[in-house]
């Protein structure tokens, strides 16, 4: 094919010194009869005296052509791109334009500048304006005189704290955090059993304050809470304290900067705080689950705003919760537990596993009620200093759990209604049995926390555990 039939597109901007440098080359190309379309990103009067210059200040063409650097020369073959070159490289331009001489007075090479279409925040704007992004959610117009944050409260979208207003651009940016399609349906969210799309998750993740890279974790958490064994509907509706606690395992926890160390269960880490909150906002907004509505909690607990942390796998002497639950060490997962609040356990004197197990067991018995057995599940969030006691004696996690099970198993006769002058208690038909505090598998241990403090946390769970109510569920975090 001869170059006479080819056409060229040249995209540039005036604020780029390399684009200014190549200005005289354009005249040479015109003189040589090359059919050249020129588009300027910032000034349609630039380059001057270069014939017709297209105005691409809206950046539509630059976005459609995927321009990343200016100048960019694209060689077309019947409207189809054949090849392109970026910046000024005399030999490249001579080859592309099939000329023996070009820009003889210019230096041989100058790199280009960034295209205006790829400036920070711009690709999402352009994708929204010109692209095929199609967001299905209803658009809600906020009045000029309305405060955006107040309007979110007034519409009932908030958990009681301010939310980030879910503008289209923020949602588009959030969706860039996943490869999944916005219209993919994850399932039906209770209590209203409404279809939850990736798009709805993204909107609520925006409101919760998530960064886009957290979105895959939020999606996995939503998927996990929709697993039947988790019993999200009942968990929401119960008068008991519980709400979903999210434990993150695997490399993503570190990648997105989650806290598994000092104050892991507390405030101050954006990923911990907003991932747990996003899950709750999905339940609230997509599922329609609100306090006073289907959420009938007598007291609730502060974890119902957000309760999410990462396990400290790196420093642990044991396999992680995820590995224990059948995943590979390199997989990232979420595990959800129907959790109450945090109960502290102090033991600053035990240096032997047996003594520490006895301490933990004594506190574990109070989950739900000291006279209850096999009702709630529980997690122990074991601190580094407490785990060290077991590590130094080479106790495995299974050994610890087995010993705790023994130490928390009691004769039913001690737990009956009326015993100890307490009307509350287990039913009479269990009187002659030994009753473990927790159902098999109902007690779990994860490691988290700061390096100082011989304290651990017990997180008790919903009185309705196992098949009767909720079991912990895990889900791999995708992309």
């Amino acid at each position: 094919m001869s170059s006479q039939q080819a056409e060229y597109i040249l995209v540039l901007k005036k604020e780029c010194p390399t684009c200014v440098l190549v200005e005289p080359v354009i005249a040479e190309l015109r003189a040589a009869g090359r059919r050249l379309q020129i588009w300027s990103q910032d000034d349609p009067d630039f380059p001057a005296n270069a014939g017709e210059v297209g105005d691409d200040r809206e950046l539509q063409l630059s976005w459609r052509l995927g321009i990343e650097t200016v100048p960019t020369v694209i060689r077309l073959d019947r409207d189809t791109e054949r090849e392109r070159t970026v910046g000024w490289d005399r030999n490249e331009w001579m080859r592309l334009f099939e000329l023996d001489q070009l820009g003889a007075d210019l230096p041989g090479f100058r790199p280009g500048c960034g295209s205006k279409s790829v400036e920070p925040g711009m690709p999402e704007r352009l994708a929204l304006k010109f692209g095929d992004i199609s967001l299905q959610s209803r658009r809600i117009e906020i009045g000029e005189m309305e405060d955006p944050l107040e309007s979110c409260f007034e519409r009932g979208w908030s958990d009681g704290l301010p939310v980030v207003p879910p503008t289209e651009i923020r949602v588009v940016r959030m969706l860039a955090g996943t490869q999944r399609k916005p219209d993919e349906v994850l399932g039906l969210v209770p209590p209203d059993l409404q279809a939850c799309t990736i798009e709805k998750v993204a909107i609520n993740a925006v409101m919760a304050g998530c960064k886009p890279e957290y979105l895959p974790v939020v999606i996995a958490a939503v998927e996990a809470c929709l697993i039947d064994e988790f019993c999200m509907h009942g968990l929401l509706a119960t008068t008991w304290f519980s709400g979903p606690m999210v434990i993150v395992n695997g490399p993503i926890a570190r990648a997105i900067g989650m806290n598994s160390g000092s104050n892991a269960l507390g405030q101050g880490n954006r990923a911990n705080a907003t991932i747990g909150r996003a899950l709750q906002l999905v339940i609230r907004n997509v599922g329609g689950g609100k306090p006073g509505g289907v959420d009938r909690a007598t007291l609730g607990n502060p974890g119902k705003y957000t309760f999410c942390f990462a396990e400290d796998e790196e420093n642990s002497c044991w396999e992680s919760l995820a590995v224990q639950r059948g995943f590979e060490a390199g997989q990232s997962t979420v595990t959800l537990f129907a959790a109450d609040g945090v109960q502290g356990v102090a033991d600053q004197k035990s240096r032997e596993p047996e003594s520490l197990c006895r301490s933990l067991a004594a506190s574990l018995l109070s989950v739900g009620h000291r006279k209850f057995a096999m009702l709630s599940d529980a997690f122990i969030v074991l601190s580094p200093e407490h785990q060290r006691v077991f590590a130094e004696a080479n106790w495995s996690k299974q050994q610890v759990l087995a010993r705790l099970t023994e130490l928390t198993t009691r004769p039913g006769s001690q737990l009956m209604s009326g015993v100890d002058g307490i009307a509350e208690g287990m039913p009479d038909f269990l009187k002659d049995m030994d009753l473990p505090k927790f159902k098999p598998g109902g007690l779990n241990i994860v490691r988290a926390g700061g390096s100082a403090g011989l304290f651990s946390a017990i997180v008790g769970g919903w009185l309705a555990s196992g098949e009767f109510g909720s079991s912990p569920v895990s889900k791999e975090i995708g992309v």
Binding site: S137, R139, E141, I142, P148, G156, W157, P166, D192, L281
Partner: protein, 92 residues
Amino acid sequence: MTEIFLDPTSELNAAAKPLLPRLQSLAGKTIGLLDINKPRGNVLLDRLEQLFNEQGVAVKRYKKPTMTRVAPLAVKQQIASECDAVVEALAD
């Protein structure tokens, strides 16, 4: 400039801000009557009070210090905490 938000809900409800639920019945309810301090507002409210009383409905009276401004926060809070609904007598 107006802002556009994407609806985070399942869109079961109208996009507009919802009104508070209306009373289904006046039985056992307390109705506030708010005089905005415009002339003859009391005439309307006195008559309403009489009609409510005939139906055995409890009535409480409130008054704004001036019709030119929105009700002071304390008045709004008092009405909200003491009444199930409020009737406001607007204009002359």
